[in-house]
Symmetry: C2
DNA sequence: CGCCAAGGTGACGTTAAGGTAAACCGTGAC
DNA sequence: GTCACGGTTTACCTTAACGTCACCTTGGCG
């Protein structure tokens, strides 16, 4: 069950909800990706923090660095009015990242193909050794 | 022009031949991946070193760590007689690595697909904003 | 009052594969 | 002699994203 919009979560609850460690949340906060409320010294995570964390984790899945993510997030809440320009910028960054990922995939494909070729060679050599051994 | 079998290369020549830095060659030596001859204190790289370095760089392209590569290389020249067993072992490691690479590729594909979906969404939103702006 | 669990801070460690800097050596040329 | 060049060693630095530890605080409960 996801928390209601106004719920404030403790760090533990937050961790359970997103499957991260407390260290991670404090780390993100140190990097200015999150800014939970405080009750005394204790952190309280609200709706906004949950939304941000969701974006952070998604960004990570896409291979963005935390620094990249911070900049995007910052852009959105430093001047929440330039929606079109911001969306366009985000889109451009995403396109760039997509191109990177596709290059990476191409390299990976190449390496996979090359490795498979080596393995075919190895399989042949292995078979030859074994039939030679059997023939003795 | 590749060097003749008996040629001994200086570290510079080696670097030029394989497009690596001296630091890299010394680093590999510290990690016991290479063991060039010495004339005085200077390193001299022979045929064997060139063959090993070629394997090292190939291994890296496949995403093996230097430590993995060292173990494979070691296996081959610590007891150069168990050819079948060694080849089989190498083959097994390659298969494992291939599986890893294919998993990685699948994840990458998924991330690419997800990112593309986000981008479609973004493109739509962007178009909506623009036509709204045009309508004013 | 005493204690525990949950929370906090600060500091240092980890990993891989080198980069970078400082200081030294040997030798062939001039 | 000394200059430059190519080489050597040792040692510390880098990056990312946390993990781990030691040592406080604080709130609640019996």
């Amino acid at each position: 069950m996801s928390p209601a919009r106004e719920d404030l979560l403790s760090i533990r609850q937050m961790c359970a909800l997103f499957d991260v460690t407390p260290r991670t949340l404090r780390f993100y906060e140190a990097k200015e990706l999150l800014a939970p409320l405080r009750r005394g010294t204790a952190r309280l995570y609200g709706y906004r923090d949950r939304a941000r964390l969701k974006l952070i984790l998604r960004g990570k899945r896409f291979g963005f660095s935390l620094e990249d993510i911070r900049q995007l997030l910052d852009m959105y809440d430093r001047n929440p009015g330039q929606q079109e320009a911001q969306l366009a910028r985000t889109y451009a960054l995403a396109a760039e990242r997509l191109a990177q990922m596709e290059r990476q995939r191409a390299e990976l494909d190449e390496a996979i193909a090359e490795l498979k070729a080596e393995m075919d060679w190895g399989a042949t050599a292995l078979a030859a050794l074994r039939s030679a051994a059997a023939a003795e």
